[in-house]
């Protein structure tokens, strides 16, 4: 007996018929009964009884039959499954073989995909980190911030507002007022840290369980207790597990540490490092004029933002009735905390993700046209397989397997690239983007990358696979795979090119809009001259500089010391620089006018020394600047205002000699005479409104101003070109007080650049993506035209042989390319008009329909298309016609 024979050939046909299991079982049982009857009859039984006997011996026939059918059916489906698996294995093996055979193609595809998927994944990981992941606090959906609105702009709130919002509404589970402050941490090497005073509810508005100890309890407002951040606890206190209950010295007073926040806790972008309790006196609680507090809140469960807004509007009406004048132009706004945190970044990040997906899309259509070209070259192979009985479904699945393997290879490489991309984005992102540092390739991002990979595989695989297998077998085989291009095939390819150009145009228009916007922005005059100006910040500790004369004395000595540094031409100090530092505004009244406290009469207050405005090069328009004499104790009170303020208060009238005062409810007016008008500066950045500004000699500060400015000034020095001011400035400050630390020593030009960093980053990234899209589109059209021309070498040979001039042939090919490009550009222009609407808020003085950006992008693409077509066309016409004819014919 032979051990095992191969399956007989004829059995394969059974599969085609999908043998009927039921009938087979019936036949087999019938055969058994028949044989048994025969045997019994042969043994002498009469046929009647033989049948009965056979049935009895067989037993329960129905049960046997049903058991057998069940088993056979199970086996059948098992077989089908393993058949499918083996088909898949075949496809994979075949695909790998094909890929190895055409290594160049494989590398090109994998590289393109890796770049596209890598970049997309990197940007998505940022989107995920910043926008999609829930905040780490309890019930993040209920966290809000409450702002006082002044003429529609979000501002800080007064203690009175905070009190009324908290006590007279019933929408909050917790509220907290927050006020930033600098502390000197003694006990060992003195250290300046930024912190905040907060009302006890603060840690309930955004709750995370404390790392150690506890948070402030209600009624603890007056206690000398402090909560530390995880970071400060680790660095300053070496992660002391027994820190809770220990005393530390803050601004010369003893505080008891009661708790440490967990590492992830960072509710405000100011990055404060410790918190002490904040309390309000009854008098403060009825103060509605000083707007210095940030207000956090947590809504009660089930209360919507809109409900809270209505409720606070109602509370605001009550305040307005009591103080109609002060509340002019003021309102209230409840904003979800995550919206405050994310702010403008939401649009920006989605735009970036959109742009990078567009690049990926162009990459995919490039690959699709490569696949199509290759599928065309493989037409004969496909035709033969079709003729040998490979079903269309089978062929499509074979080709799709190939493209999915390519996609997976590209996707894997892309994820590796994305790791670097994320690191680059995190380090290169300009300003504080909340939670950006947490961007990583987490499961969410990896699922995104996987999905993107599969979608790409289908995108660039499906169309060519369907296209390539819709071959007319007969004509293909007859032609011997020579491949005369049929119209239908060209249409697929043309559609790809048109899509690529359309998408590239949208990208380029967006990049163009950003570049135009950046250009416009750069042309906005700053109103001051940052060249060769260095800034440095000095903050005086409250424990040793509690007295205002001590503060002023220290700052004027520091300015004098800086002035004495060789190479320093001018120096001065102010509590605020253009584009840098704290800005505090106050309502103004004009002497001799009825107290018409309209909302326009506001000034942003800066305390300054003499020489400050000259140093940063702000031009004088009328009168004079601040002088040394103004700083003397007995000097009359004066101010210098900018043009915007002068215009707001006095129109075209000459403001010099008028007296103004910051108004308060309780105190008598402090009249200050306007002695000079200076030019406007772009104080809040080139793209922001110019605020009305008022410069007050620092010795004539309003009450409490030094506290509000945190006893901190920026000192500016105009130096000789090329001079750096680090060490000598440090020495100068040390001569005044060797314990003082300097912060933010940097060129003023750097401050200007920083102020514009987000826009710059967006512009650079989008331009980069635009250029990438352009290059990919150029490669795409080059590849397609080159392929097309190669396919038509025969035809071109004939034309040239028949006397067509080379130039006319080139023209023909180029015209075809240009037609495709123009169609793409037209389609893209329509798309761009629709897409760029979302960019509006990110542009500066440029319409989203800016004709220049559209024209430039279109022309650039057209030129690229013509160039990409011209080279292969010219090469084709250089071929010797005889060879072209014989080679292909």
């Amino acid at each position: 007996m032979p051990a095992s024979r191969p399956e007989p050939r004829w059995r394969r046909y059974l599969r085609f018929w999908r043998a009927d299991v039921q009938a087979d079982v019936d036949d087999e049982v019938a055969f058994h009964i028949g044989e048994r009857i025969d045997d019994l009859v042969a043994a002498g039984m009469d046929p009647e009884h033989a049948r009965e006997e056979a049935l009895t011996r067989f037993g329960d026939m129905e049960r046997v039959k049903s058991t057998c059918s069940t088993i056979a059916q199970e086996q059948e489906s098992q077989m089908r499954r393993s058949e499918k698996l083996s088909v898949l294995r075949q496809d994979v093996v075949y695909a790998l073989r094909v890929m190895r055979r055409s290594a160049g193609f494989t590398i090109a595809v994998v590289f393109t995909l890796a770049l596209g998927i890598g970049a997309t994944t990197a940007i998505f990981s940022v989107v995920n980190a910043v926008l999609l992941r829930p905040l780490p606090y309890a019930d993040p959906d209920r966290m809000v911030m409450v702002f006082e609105l002044l003429n529609g702009g979000r501002g800080r709130a007064s203690p009175g507002h905070f009190h009324d919002w908290s006590e007279l509404s019933n929408v909050f589970e917790a509220t907290a007022a927050f006020s930033g402050r600098t502390y000197t941490l003694a006990d060992g090497e003195p250290m300046r840290v930024y912190g905040a005073r907060v009302t006890p509810g603060f840690f309930k508005t955004g709750y995370m369980p404390p790392e150690l100890g506890r948070y402030f309890a209600p009624g603890e407002e007056e206690s000398r207790v402090v909560v530390l951040t995880y970071g400060l606890w680790r660095t300053r206190f070496a992660g002391d597990q027994a820190i809770v209950g220990k005393p530390i010295t803050l601004n010369g007073e003893k505080y008891t540490v009661i708790g440490v926040t967990p590492a992830a806790y960072s509710l405000t972008p100011q990055d404060e490092r410790l918190w002490t309790p904040l309390s309000f006196t009854p008098q403060q609680r009825s103060t509605y004029g000083a707007h210095t507090f940030q207000v956090f809140g947590k809504l009660k469960p089930g209360v919507s933002i809109a409900q809270a807004q209505r409720e606070l509007d109602r509370v605001g009406e009550g305040i307005r009735r009591r103080y109609p004048d002060e509340m002019k132009g003021r309102g209230v706004s409840v904003v979800s905390f995550s919206d405050v945190l994310v702010g403008d970044y939401r649009t920006q990040l989605w735009v970036l993700l959109g742009a990078v997906s567009f690049v990926l899309l162009i990459g995919c259509s490039n690959i699709a046209s490569l696949m199509l070209a290759r599928a065309t070259a493989r037409r004969k192979e496909i035709a033969i397989r079709g003729a040998l009985g490979g079903s269309r479904k089978r062929l499509v699945s074979q080709l799709l397997t190939e493209s999915l393997i390519l996609a997976v290879a590209g996707g894997t490489a892309g994820v590796l690239l994305a790791r670097f991309g994320v690191r680059f984005l995190v380090s290169a992102a300009p300003t504080f983007v909340p939670r950006l540092a947490e961007a990583a390739l987490d499961p969410m991002v990896l699922s995104f990358a996987t999905a993107a990979t599969l979608v790409c595989g289908l995108l660039f695989g499906l169309a060519p696979a369907l296209r390539a297998t819709r071959v007319d077998l007969q004509s293909e085989l007859r032609e011997g795979g020579r491949g005369s291009s049929s119209m239908a095939r060209d249409r697929t390819r043309a559609a790809l090119i048109i899509t690529e150009f359309a998408v590239a145009l949208v990208l380029l228009v967006s990049a163009g809009l950003f570049l135009r916007s950046a250009d416009r922005l750069q042309r906005v005059p700053l109103g001051f001259d940052p060249s060769n100006v260095t800034m440095l910040r000095v903050a005086l500790p409250a424990d040793r500089y509690g007295d205002t004369t001590a503060v002023q004395g220290a700052f004027s000595r520091i300015v004098d010391e800086i002035r004495s540094i060789p190479g320093v031409e001018r120096a001065g100090a102010s509590t605020r620089l253009p584009m840098w530092g704290i800005s505090i505004d106050m309502g103004l009244s004009v002497e001799g006018r009825p107290a018409n406290r309209s909302s326009r009469d506001v000034g942003h207050v800066r305390l300054a020394t003499s020489g400050f405005l000259e140093t940063i090069g702000v031009p004088l328009r009328r009168g004079r600047l601040l002088s040394d004499a103004d700083l003397r104790a007995e000097a009359p009170w004066v101010v210098v205002v900018n043009e915007t303020l002068a215009r707001n208060l006095f129109g075209n009238e000459n403001p010099i000699g008028h007296r103004i005062s910051g108004w308060t409810k309780a105190e008598a007016p402090e009249w200050r005479e306007i002695v000079g008008v200076i030019g406007d500066t772009r104080s809040f950045g080139r793209d922001a409104e110019i605020p009305p500004e008022i410069y007050i000699p620092m010795t004539q500060r309003p009450n409490g101003a030094w506290d509000a400015f945190q006893r901190s000034m920026a000192i500016v020095a105009k130096t000789k070109p090329g001079m750096t001011l680090g060490a000598s400035a440090r020495a100068a400050v040390a001569r005044v007080d060797r314990q003082l630390a300097l912060y933010d020593v940097q060129p003023m030009s750097e401050v200007v650049v920083q102020a514009n960093a987000t826009r710059r980053f967006n512009t650079i990234l989008l331009s980069l993506l635009g250029v990438t899209g352009l290059v990919l589109a150029a490669i795409g059209i080059y590849g397609v035209i080159a392929f097309f021309v190669t396919q038509r070498t025969h035809e071109i040979g004939v034309r040239v042989a028949l006397g067509a001039s080379r130039a006319s042939v080139v023209k023909l090919v180029v015209r075809q390319a240009a037609t495709l490009a123009l169609a793409g550009i037209a389609l893209g222009a329509v798309g761009a008009l629709w897409v760029t609407r979302v960019l509006g808020s990110m542009l500066f003085q440029v319409s989203v329909r800016d004709p220049a950006a559209f024209t430039a992008a279109g022309l650039l693409l057209l030129v690229v298309a013509i160039g990409a077509a011209w080279f292969p066309a010219r090469r084709a016409t250089r071929v010797d016609p005889v060879r072209a004819l014989s080679a292909v014919g």
């Binding site: 095992s4 055969f31 046997v64």
Partner: protein, 113 residues
């Protein structure tokens, strides 16, 4: 008890029967009947589920052919896997049968440890 025991026994016997060559179900039944006699008498129908199970396991293979009397019959034969399975199971069955008969034939009570 008898049924479960029979299940396994039946399968081993079918495999053994098929070592002599390809055979239809009726033939297999007849062989077992002749060799096993009354002791292994089974309902003839119960043979078929066993055959189908073996086929599903891939131990035997089936094909349709014509019998000596020119009737369409389903013929079974042993596959390589089946041959291996028989070898393994036969030795297990041998040991099992031996052990059982040892116990049943024992004359001395086992010494308690």
């Amino acid at each position: 008890m008898k049924n479960e025991l029979l299940h396994g026994t039946l399968e081993v016997m079918i495999l053994k029967t098929l070592t002599w060559g390809r055979m239809h179900g009726y033939g297999v039944g007849r062989w077992i009947e002749q060799l096993g006699g009354e002791a292994l008498r089974i309902e003839e129908g119960s043979l078929y589920p066993a055959l189908y199970r073996l086929e599903k396991k891939g131990w035997i293979d089936a094909e349709w052919g014509l019998s000596e009397k020119n009737r369409r019959a389903k013929y079974y034969r042993l596959t390589a896997a089946g041959r291996r399975a028989l070898r393994d199971n036969a030795s297990i069955w041998g040991e099992f049968a031996l052990a059982v008969s040892r116990v049943l034939k024992a004359t001395d009570a086992p010494s308690m440890p």
